[in-house]
């Protein structure tokens, strides 16, 4: 199934529940892309750097980034990705439990496309995934 047109979403979140919910909601929302998960900033960077020089595996088309993660957190990794020419084009959406204005401002300034607070119902998860899929995965496909 993996081909040139296959879109991919990468979620970086240490909370496996949220990864599972997001992946399920993505499917329920009708998403067709590959949905991968990594557990922290280090893993995310490894995942991306590995694919930067690979022909067989492409870079993700959307990164869903949690802010509070062990080892390397979302704020650091966001700045790092935006500093690398090979990666800075990938749209990044923050998906966090935080509602803090400071976080919203900081990530927007660093180049995050959007800031979403994690919902507390599955319905909302599905709605979020639907909107994200429509905004960032279909446009480029057309």
């Amino acid at each position: 199934m993996a081909g040139e047109d296959q879109k991919a979403v990468l979620m970086a979140d240490d909370d496996s529940d949220d990864c599972m919910l997001a992946a399920e909601a993505f499917v329920v929302s009708g998403g067709k892309a590959v949905f991968d998960c990594v557990a922290d900033g280090n893993e995310l960077m490894l995942y991306l750097l590995e694919r930067t020089n690979s022909d067989s595996k492409g870079l993700p088309d959307l990164i869903l980034l949690d802010l509070n993660m062990p080892r390397k957190d979302g704020r650091e990794v966001l700045l790092e990705i935006k500093s690398l020419p090979a990666l800075r084009h990938i749209p990044i959406v923050i998906l966090s439990t935080s509602k803090e204005k400071a976080d919203i401002d900081l990530t927007a300034e660093a180049g995050a496309k959007s800031f979403i607070t994690k919902p507390s119902s599955f319905g909302e998860w599905v709605e979020i995934m639907r909107v994200l899929g429509k905004e960032w995965l279909t446009k480029r496909a057309e």
Partner: protein, 442 residues
Amino acid sequence: MPDDQLNGRLKVLILEDISTDAELVENELRSAGIEFEARRVDSEESFLKAFEDFSPGIILSDYSLPSFDGESALMLAAGIAPNVPFIFVTGALGEDRAVDLLKSGATDLVLKDRLSRLALCVRRALKEAEEKKLRQRAEDELLRAHAGLERKVEERTKDLRLTMQALRLSEEELRKSHDELELRVQERTAELSASIARLEILNQELQEFAFVASHDLQEPLRKIQTFCDLAQMRCSSALDSVGRGYLDRVIDAASRMRHLLDDLLQFSRVAGRLERFKTVDLGKIIGEAADIFEEKIKEAGVSIETGDLPGIEADESQMLQLFQNLIGNALKYRSSQSLRIRISAKQDGRGYCEIFFEDNGIGFEQQYAERIFKPFQRLHSHTEYEGVGMGLAICRKIAERHGGIIRAESEPGKGSVFIIRLPVMQNKVKAARNSPPEMLER
């Protein structure tokens, strides 16, 4: 001195060895009209004895006697009866001797061949003696009086000294007990300060705990809610109606817990936040608070009247929160008649402003007027009225953070009045409050 005082009383002691000479003397006195009683002695022994059993009023003494002499007699008399006049009646005597005798204390000196002077001399001597006696008496009295006075002064001085001593003692005791008291006050103050410091730390830890707990509990709760939701969507068909009922209850309880945690978080945020004071237009704030309930207010036909409201120095967002909670509270506990809210204010002239928030809701028993401000305290079950009982606790916290108070007056069925007393300016009360560290937002 009147003669009659001399008369009959005068006792004349005559020291004379020659009886005829003594008779001459007596005759001379008698012829001068002096009444007297005389005794003649001619020896030391009889002379001395006369002082015991005769008590002479005057002594007339010869100068030289066979067994005695006038000079010795004068010395003796001066020792025994110094106030009795002593007149020498003698034969011719050298002038120098006469002067010596007078110097030695003799009252006078009369020559035997000039006896005519005697009566005059006696009278004068007696008069002088009498005067001397009177003077002496007066002096004695004076001395006595003086001594009495001195004694009294001494007694008084002693009394005074005792009183002063007693005073000094009681003063010392007073100072001692004052010092002791001061020491105890200092000790107690130190103890109290230590307790206050401990309590402050404890309070701060509690606030931090409340914040962290409510913050961290949100995450697992979000999962419970989401997975319940997922289960309801995906697995409902696998459950029977009883199972679905259970799931509904879990979802309901999780939703209540969500509200509870939200409110608790808000409560601890109010408690832990640093003051950001500026002048706040209360009228404008109340307008904004009412806007939050716009739909409900329209729907229920609520009227909100505001009087003249002052600008006060406050944290704007907390003031908004306060009035939002009060309006929300009034909406929740409105009666069957349409809700009317009246908000007015007056300043007390002592730097405080009192805001009266009146409604015509269901009200409550006055005995609960304090309880309603305690966290998680409710007067109704949440099946009657939803909510977790934090709204008014947050209001109180906000009032306290501003150095003010909030209280309520009510009667069932008669509506309620919430009275918020806040300082107009914050600088006066700021120093009195401790400023807890800003909570770590995560």
